[in-house]
Assembly symmetry: C2
Homo-oligomer: 449 residues x 2
């Protein structure tokens, strides 16, 4: 096999030919590749996951309900601008090894192989693509975290000697890891599959077993990131939960965000995912909630203040959904992140304005407004100081307690609590004072070293 | 000669042995390497210029007043943490070629050679270091912009055939470029210098002439950036002007900054350079001027308003000096840039506060304060939007007219003019409206592609 130094220039073969009968037993009448999961079909998610990892060419092997799956694949190729070829495997019933054999005349090895019904956190596939470049043989990705596998009884296990696979199968003992349904195949795979097939085993596992017996099968352990295979309705639900946890995990690290907002935003995101609402629209909705809160604060009745307080916290929760939704539907864009951050600052301005307006009525002098302006200055500068630091130093400020105390999730939560206690103005001013102090402290600390 | 792929791992030999009698005729009694130029001695500037280009080892060859120059070099090495060795050249009166020969037993070739009395814009030396890596012979840096040379009659000219030097000297004709006093020398230089010396020419030019005759002398043309040699008091003045122009040029590209502020700030920077005032202190002074302007605006008398208006523009001018001073004295730090940008935002806050406070007195309602808060929001967001864009997209927003209209230099100038006309508040609000519109327009435009 030639030297593989740019693995992402190799194509990926996506196996989408199986019947997926267990998933359909849940009342679902779609072929498995078309089964929806958080707003994308399994096939679409597989394609976009590999695209995110940098792979640029795709072969989708179809079998059961081949025409329908092929039509969907072609439509996805068009929508996402993919270089994609559909390969029919009339022998799909003889095992998924025949689906790999079906590409033999279409593309030279090496190539990646991925199962359409395996769901991966994109960083995990990226990690596999990265690690493949130093290996010389056919490679299987395996997960040593066996206790975390959803349906371990049904999983394919792998016995290892260092990084070589010595046996593979559902029933082997002992085993060290679980097959993740991710492969990198050299040309030797075809011969191995044909040999296994002749002996009556048409599965990809059969071919891998042959290579393992010849000492030509390598394993790459991937120990971080979420993945699962989706065979049943319960598996689908598990996949949904897992993916939502991943995207919420990559949110910023604010305390309120992590321990409170995230649970709600994840729930909302799951509902939004199956609609056509875009992340950028969600960003705007969060902004609109904050502006509404500002207006209600300005009215100054107890009822409207309490409503405003609730809306502030709602805005904070919804502000987490846009990023989650964008990540889960592969819709992350620099523009979206830019739009989100700018609207956050405008939203803060609206809240400060409303709170200050109301407070200035009872206290006719200019000083409520001066404090209001200084509060807004504090809130915007807490963010600005971080951005500017990242630009000037090339790395972010440390995410210490001071950072967490000046984050937006905590600020909105505190203002919400202050509002519920009918004391939004003093709460706001106290938060602002803390932010100014933190900025001063950061400047001082960084100066000293 | 071995392959030179990391040229900045090679040392630089700085020739600082000459008498520099013409410079001393101006009443200066210091040895030339100790002559001050914008707060640094010529030797310090040479060392820091090469350090900026990434060079890490230094040989300083001393001759006339050798002990004094050596002591200064050692002190600089300590202050700037340089790996520096002083080499004495007792034969310095026989020509500057003997100074290169003096390092023969101290360091193997190749190495860079630089004249202490040549002043370079750092990017130019960096460019030379970059270009050297593909060359195979001894190299001289030459400037084809002959009409821009300060004292062309006294300059050493170079005749070229493609990138080979075929002749060098003060009197040769025709010539294509001028010797910049920057060399990269292979071991063949020693033999060439000894040969020339035997024939009565102890200068570096003599050695270069020999190599040129053997076809072993390459030239690298550097056509951008400022440099000059400093032989006379007039040359020193020319160098000062040139360096100040360079550092002002790298300032941001605002209209007011370029066509007005820069001329004043350059003048101030030249004065500040010879004091021990640091750039970070200048940053604070600019901030203090803006805060003073804010306080004066708040007083609201015609006289104080006019004074405030003048201070606003003064703050804008001084805000240009910190960066200029930092660049001209090699004191640029990420912290300084961070500090500068954060204080700019606080300074804007102080000005908005003062103007709004005064205006609210005559117009008892809350709306002046609402407009004030929205104005501050506009000014800070005009900057924030640019920073966030750079972070999210990895490149800055286009520097178009909208960008220039929302820059701080124009903003402060307009507020100053508005103040002189006793209309600071409406001016501020109009500027703010423009900034908000620009932000909206940018978001819209970038979204569409």
């Amino acid at each position: 096999m030639e030297k593989r130094n740019i693995p992402k220039d190799f194509p990926v073969v996506i196996l989408a030919a199986g019947e997926g009968s267990r998933l359909r037993k849940g009342g679902n009448h779609l072929p498995k590749p078309l089964a929806p999961l958080l707003g994308l079909t399994l096939l679409e998610r597989a394609l976009l996951t590999w695209k995110t990892a940098g792979v640029r060419r795709f072969y989708v092997v179809v079998g059961w309900e081949g025409k329908r799956v092929a039509a969907h694949a072609q439509e996805l190729a068009k929508r996402h601008g993919l270089d994609l070829e559909v390969v029919e495997n009339p022998r799909w019933q003889e095992g998924n090894g025949t689906s790999v054999l079906a590409v033999k005349d279409r593309t030279p090895a090496p190539f990646f192989v991925s199962m359409v019904d395996h769901v991966f956190e994109p960083s995990l596939v990226e990690g596999f693509v990265q690690q493949v470049k130093d290996k010389k043989s056919t490679i299987i990705a395996v997960d040593p975290r066996v206790t975390q596998v959803f349906d371990l009884a049904d999983a394919t296990k792998v016995r290892l000697e260092e990084d070589r696979v010595v046996d593979i199968g559902k029933e082997i003992l002992p085993y060290h890891a679980v097959d993740m349904g991710l492969f990198f195949c050299g040309p030797e795979i075809f011969q191995a599959l044909e040999k296994a097939k002749k002996e009556g085993d048409g599965s990809l596992t059969g071919g891998v077993k042959k290579l393992a017996a010849q000492g030509e099968m390598c394993a790459v352990k991937l120990e971080e990131g979420f993945w699962t295979d989706v065979d049943t309705p319960e598996g689908l639900e598990y996949a949904q939960k897992g993916l939502l946890t991943c995207v919420a995990r990559s949110q910023d690290e604010g305390w309120i965000s992590r321990h409170f907002n995230r649970h709600l935003s994840r729930w909302i995101t799951a509902r939004l995912a199956s609609t056509s609402i875009t992340p950028n629209l969600v960003t705007f909705l969060a902004f609109a909630l904050a502006v509404a809160a500002g207006c209600l604060f300005a009215l100054g009745k107890l009822g409207t203040t309490i409503l405003a307080a609730l809306l502030v916290q709602a805005a904070s929760v919804v502000d987490g959904c846009d990023g989650e939704l964008a990540r889960i539907k592969f819709m992350v864009t620099p523009w979206g992140a830019w739009w989100d951050t700018l609207l956050d600052r405008y939203a803060d301005g609206a809240i400060v304005l409303g709170i200050t307006w109301e407070y200035s009525h009872g206290h006719g002098e200019a000083w409520p407004w001066i404090l209001g302006l200084l509060s807004f200055l504090a809130f915007v500068m807490a963010s600005y100081a971080k951005k500017e630091h990242a630009l000037r130093f090339g790395h972010p400020l440390p995410r210490d307690a001071g950072d967490k105390l000046t984050r937006r999730d905590l600020r909105l939560f505190a203002i919400s609590v202050g509002g519920l206690l009918n004391r939004p103005f003093p709460t706001m001013v106290a938060l602002a004072a803390m932010s100014h102090l933190w900025i001063g402290w950061m400047l001082w600390r960084k100066r000293k070293g």
